[in-house]
């Protein structure tokens, strides 16, 4: 394996925003990079840490409301850096809590306004209802997307972003329209954990492809196969996806 091509993966706030197996997203990116001969380097960024110089992919997860409070000031502090990366086409995956805070604002149930970093044209409103359960959604870009949602904030998209997918089972962004997630430049925002990337490798490979294209101006190999015996990973993924679509909400 040629270990000479590093790809820098930045995980935002793993200490406070990482409650729904978001670590799985980091792991899947690392493994799928390795399987293609790249050397993943995972950076964890928590409040007050030094922001890494090299960043090729950014991922962020969900947290509790209390976790959002802890990171919010710091997120605004590094907002300019994130904006520059986003504008420059750096691929990003933001799930649940950080998806919300990548928008303009989060108005809590009590009417308090939490300022987001404003990279995605969307806003979120706190509600008394939690949207919880398995989700199936259709995306023209990535095909069928599967995951699990658990959020009381409901998100509404502005004209500056596209929805990630249209929900066929579950709620998605809010209880009113049938959209799930957001797409803007090379950013994917979504409420789905589960984790998202293991069962939705099309999204994982999109992030990897953009990262490799930006850094090395090359296309990634379409075919991958990890070392080891047993069933191929793509076959297991298909079977896990087939099960997920059949499970109750």
């Amino acid at each position: 394996m040629a270990a000479s091509k590093p790809v820098h993966v930045l995980q935002l706030y793993p200490r406070d925003m990482n409650i729904y197996g978001d670590f799985g997203n980091a792991l899947v990116l690392q493994r799928r990079l390795q399987w293609r001969g790249y050397e993943p380097i995972l950076h964890s960024y928590d409040p007050e840490d030094e922001f890494p110089e090299q960043v090729d992919v950014v991922i962020g997860g969900g947290g509790q409301d209390s976790g959002q409070d802890k990171i919010q000031q710091d997120l605004l502090r590094i907002g300019d850096k994130l904006h520059r990366l986003a504008e420059g086409g750096t691929p990003m995956l933001m799930i649940c809590g950080l998806y919300q805070l990548f928008g303009h604002s989060f108005r809590t149930r009590e009417g308090r306004e939490i300022k987001g970093v404003g990279i995605l044209d969307l806003h979120t409103e706190g509600t008394d209802t939690r949207l919880i359960g398995n989700v199936v959604a259709e995306s023209a870009e990535f095909g069928e997307i599967l995951g699990y949602e658990n959020h009381s904030g409901q998100t509404y998209l502005g004209p500056g972003v596209q929805p990630l997918a249209r929900v066929t089972r579950g709620e998605g962004n809010n209880a009113k329209d049938s959209y799930e997630g957001a797409r803007f430049k090379n950013i994917v925002g979504s409420y789905l954990h589960g984790s998202l990337l293991p069962k939705n490798p099309a999204i994982a490979d999109f992030l990897i492809a953009k990262a490799v294209e930006n850094r090395y101006q090359e296309q990634i190999q379409p075919q991958i196969e990890p070392a080891g015996t047993g069933q191929p990973v793509e076959e297991l993924t298909r079977a896990a996806r087939a099960t997920a679509t059949r499970r109750p909400r």
């Binding site: 729904y20 670590f23 359960g133 658990n150 009381s152 047993g230 297991l236 499970r247």
Partner: protein
């Protein structure tokens, strides 16, 4: 039931315990005659007719009521507390049926109460589901509460860990005398700061064991510093072969246990602490240790069975920290491993948690069989951790047969979620004697 009064609330205040007991028993008889095994209906009838029945009956007990709650380990710990108290010569009332709702408790009382409404017991020990405990403690204020932990496996029920912690806070606030808290769980430990009048005791782990019991919080940030850990009455110092070494009120005690697994050994510390708190000076320490060594595991929790002449361990896994601890407390070497993951309501439907468990410790030996509704999610998880497995068979029954047939001479270990364990246990009764549920 059409002949029962149609407006029970009006009648409620005037009913005597005798009336409630008789009506409750009648309801039970009716339920049984109609072929129902459920305990909820008679409980419901009495609850409607005589809303104070429960509080009145339990408050007559000379030593009051102990409540055990938390997201994990309630059943085993409750069983330990009961047997420790019995070992001290006390008659104990408990909700054995596993029905941990208020109605289930009422129904359990109806089974054992005298017609006068007097329960033949010295003390009650009740396992209460967090969500129901909140209602229960407002009706029946317990004398002592033992609060075990707040783990992440309840998120699809309660939304947030902090919500669950709030329920445990309510239990503590409604407890009359004293609470026992898990010093190692930051959310449980923090409850102490919200209490005004209750005495607080702790159970805990030695510093060397803390890294062995990773919590969901410190998976990514490392364990909290020792500085904010208050003194604990009972500390689990060390896991020994088949038991543990504890410090109880400053004295070192080593004992064997019939339950297996590090979590159950830690649960023993919790049980010791609450019994010591409830009995105070009257406790007989030697009898306490003797009873502890004899407590058999609650059904399905760390059970060791003998199947076709070789040992088979069932290890219940419900959340990332539980699974991580299960993997670290049993060596994989020389053992055939099966993993069975279901996502039924009682297991939790959200599969995210599998990605917060590291399976590298299984890499060298591999996994013989992956099963359960979510077998392919589990297999995919293993694949991303470079752990080989022989087979994936979602059907639990077929998987178990094949697992046992293909690994005849080795000790076997099955990591399983709750409903997978129920199904496997049922199937295992064909091979060996398994205690009925």
């Amino acid at each position: 039931m059409s002949r029962l009064p149609t407006s029970p609330r009006r009648l409620g205040g005037t009913l005597s315990s005798l009336g409630s007991v008789l009506i409750g028993r009648a309801a039970r008889t009716v339920t049984k005659l109609r072929g129902g095994g459920g305990s909820a209906f008679p409980g419901l009838v009495v609850e409607k007719l005589d809303p104070h029945f429960l509080a009145r009956t339990l408050h007559r007990l000379p030593r009051g009521v102990i409540v055990v709650s938390g997201t994990n380990g309630k059943t085993t710990t409750t069983k330990m507390v009961v047997e420790l108290l019995q070992g001290q010569g006390l008659k104990v009332f408990t909700n054995r049926s596993g029905s941990n709702f208020t109605r289930g408790v009422v129904a359990s009382i109806l089974e054992e109460v005298r017609l006068t409404g007097k329960l033949d017991a010295d003390i009650a020990v009740l396992e209460l589901d967090e969500a129901h405990a909140v209602h229960f403690v407002k009706a029946v204020r317990p004398n002592h509460s033992l609060l075990l932990n707040v783990m992440r496996d309840q998120l699809d029920r309660f939304g947030e860990i902090d919500t669950t912690a709030g329920m445990l806070r309510t239990i503590a606030a409604h407890t009359v005398e004293a609470v026992v808290l898990n010093r190692e769980d930051p959310r449980v430990r923090a409850i102490a700061g919200t209490l005004d009048t209750q005495r607080v005791d702790y159970f805990g782990l030695s510093e060397s064991l803390r890294s062995h019991f990773p919590s969901d919080d410190d998976f990514h940030s490392g364990p909290a510093g020792a500085a904010d850990h208050p003194h604990a009455d009972v500390v689990l110092e060390e896991l020994t072969e088949g038991g543990g070494r504890f410090t109880i009120d400053g004295e070192a005690v080593t004992t064997s246990l019939s339950v297996n697994g590090a979590y159950n050994t830690f649960n023993a510390a919790a049980a010791l602490a609450v019994v010591r708190q409830a009995l105070g000076e009257a406790v007989n320490p030697q009898a306490l240790i003797d009873s502890l060594s004899k407590v058999s595991p609650a059904f399905g929790r760390g059970e060791s069975l003998t199947v076709q002449g070789r040992p088979l361990d069932l290890v219940l896994v419900k959340n990332p920290s539980g699974f991580r601890l299960g993997l670290s407390s049993f060596a994989a070497e020389g053992v055939a491993t099966m993993i069975a993951i279901n996502d039924n309501y009682a297991d939790g439907r959200d599969m995210s948690w599998l990605w917060d468990v590291e399976f590298a410790s299984l890499a060298e030996q591999g996994v013989r069989m992956v099963s359960g509704v979510r077998a392919y999610d589990m297999a995919l998880r293993l694949k991303y951790d470079d752990v080989d497995f022989d087979a994936v068979e979602p059907d639990l029954s077929l998987a178990l047969t094949r697992f046992l047939d293909e690994n005849p001479d080795k000790p076997a270990r099955i990591f399983c979620t709750y409903t997978a364990m129920l199904a496997l246990r049922k199937r295992l009764s064909a091979y060996t004697e398994v205690e009925a549920f």
